[in-house]
Amino acid sequence: MSAIYALYDTGDAAQRAVNSLRNAGVADSAITVISDQPMEAYEFGEMNRATRIWYIASGGGLIGLVFAAWLTRMTELAWPLPTGNMPIVSWWPNLIVIFELTMLGAILATVATLLVAGELLRRRPALYDPQVSDGKILVGVDGPAIPDDVERALVAAGSPRIMRI
């Protein structure tokens, strides 16, 4: 991998660096900003906000619901056992199992989506610097098309040192 990045002390400086990269023609999707906390007070903190995780969670819940409805009905019909004067397929008690598996489906789909969409568990090396854990904010570009322009933009934002990988 090739990347160019700089570390900044404050959110304001990081915002200047992002703006500077945009002025140099770098698209938002190519800019990487890494921090040790969510930076919601800054405009760059709003990048990459769009997500379909709510839809996927709902889909997971739907799969859980359909599976539970099938499972409860199938097991009751597989060995029809009269219980407490209830019908063989008893939807009132089945609703409890259906509810639990619906929620479980939604929860598991949410976590799976976080792992995939959040690019966790990736094996490929990624742009990162451990100094982020000390409060620095990393602004960089992964695989820049014109490295010199990126470097100039990061320096213009006030970073004393530019790192290349």
Partner: protein
């Protein structure tokens, strides 16, 4: 937030992970020995048979099921409170949420252990799982015990994930500050977290969905635990109000457990900077509200039974009000209502010490409540010839004691290996974003709004 403030937060909250005193080893050895005795007692019970317990006809559910319901109730503190506070974006939640979520995970594990202990032959516990036998017979999905399996499994899975997800950024922080084996372990737990804007947004969205999903699951779990009782035609069990009554009691005991845990963490890990009196005051107000709600439920239940004047139910009613269980019953009323109300309703007494005293009372009172639900009804069923009595044997008392030690041990070990307060959430809470946060004030030391 200044660099110094961020550094202080990190240093303070990582201190327990980096420094180990002799007190830690003594505490772990002490609690570990009680847990070991409990495990030994359980093995003894398995070897000698279930006759070692006081459980016998007609009281087939006693200490173990009391503890099962009690621990499931305690587990309601964490995830439910945390999820509600997250959804309403209460700023004061930040130092509280992880302390609370940990209680849920461990209390659920301990609670789920009791039905297995109660089986007598625990190696056959997998019979509880919904899978077909060799003759393709499935467990009966119309049985409340099978509902328990689904409810507790879902809640445990959801609670563990709800606890784990916000820990990922903190694991990454520890990974970057560690070397050797510790770095590899925390690196694996951090799942490759970097802290990109995309990761923060996905984590935030995931936590919102988890919070939305976990609240109804938490309510359903204790409702389903109550169904174990209310679905049975046993005097004073077969009640439509058992679901909400159990849920309210669970949240009540859960908040009390959380206050005790937070006070212990504050004192022993020196977290006075982060767990402020205002956190205890707010939780104390919640505890007071739940105490009033508990009293309302008890009054509604007792009045309905008394007014109905059904002979089998009145037998149970009187044995708890003025019979052999009366001392336990009135102790329960004192601990769950008189004590917390007297302390928490008075602003001056709603201090950290006051909240802790009230919480200890509530924990004792709620354990007694579970006991008084289970035993008097079973020992006084419909026909007087079947009446009996129950007295716990040393085996049951030892196993129960060891679960309290196990809870403390798990909590101590957790706070040794994971920051007990979410570092990144605390930093984000102190981030200067005037549009979002009012200035810090005496009532709101973290400088954020109260929901």
């Amino acid at each position: 937030m200044s660099d110094e403030s961020a550094r202080n937060i990190t240093e303070d909250l990582l201190r327990p992970l980096q420094r180990t005193t002799w007190r830690f080893y003594v505490l772990v050895a002490f609690l570990g020995s009680i847990v070991a005795m409990g495990l030994g007692t359980w093995a003894y019970q398995m070897y000698m048979g279930f006759g070692m317990t006081g459980i016998n006809n007609p009281v087939y559910w006693a200490f173990y099921i009391t503890n099962f319901v009690f621990w499931i109730g305690i587990s309601h503190a964490g995830t439910l409170i945390s999820a509600i506070l997250r959804l309403v974006n209460a700023g004061w939640r930040r130092p509280v949420t992880r302390c609370a979520e940990v209680i849920t995970a461990f209390a659920l594990m301990i609670g789920a252990l009791f039905p297995i202990i109660h089986l007598g032959r625990p190696w056959l516990f997998f019979w509880l799982m919904p899978y077909p036998s060799s003759r393709l017979i499935w467990p009966n999905f119309r049985s409340p015990l099978v509902w328990d399996f689904f409810a507790i499994s879902t809640y445990l899975t959801g609670s563990v994930l709800f606890l784990f997800l916000p820990m990922i950024p903190d694991f990454a922080l520890i990974r970057d500050r560690s070397t050797g084996l510790r770095r590899r372990i925390y690196g694996a737990l951090a799942l490759g977290w970097r802290g990109t804007t995309k990761q923060w947004h996905r984590l935030e969205s995931a936590m919102q969905i988890m919070a939305v999903a976990i609240i109804p699951v938490a309510v359903s779990v204790h409702t389903i635990v109550s169904f174990d009782f209310s679905m049975a035609p046993v005097p004073m069990w077969h009640s439509t109000m058992f679901g909400p009554y159990f849920v309210a009691g669970a949240i009540f005991s859960g908040i009390a457990g959380l206050i005790i845990a937070m006070a212990a963490l504050r004192k022993f890990l020196h977290l006075e900077e982060y767990l402020h009196p205002v956190h205890f005051q707010n939780l104390g107000k919640l505890l007071l509200m739940m105490s009033l709600l508990w009293a309302y439920f008890v009054f509604a239940e007792r009045l309905t039974v008394w007014y109905g004047n059904d002979t089998p139910e009145m037998n149970v009613f009187y044995v708890t009000q003025r019979g052999s269980f009366a001392p336990l019953y009135w102790t329960m009323v004192f601990c769950n209502f008189v004590l917390p109300f007297s302390i928490l309703a008075i602003r001056k007494l709603r201090t950290i010490t006051g909240c802790v005293i009230a919480s200890f009372g509530v924990v004792v009172g709620m354990w007694l409540e579970r006991f008084l639900i289970v035993v008097p009804s079973l020992s006084h069923k419909f026909l007087p010839y079947s009446w009996g009595h129950y007295q716990p044997r040393p085996v049951e008392i030892m196993i129960m004691t060891s679960t309290f030690a196990a809870m403390c041990l798990l909590y101590v070990l957790f706070s040794k290996f994971v920051p007990i307060i979410s570092i990144w959430e605390l930093k984000a809470g102190e981030h200067p974003s005037p549009a979002l946060s009012p200035m810090a004030a005496h009532e709101h030391p973290l400088g954020e709004t109260h929901a």
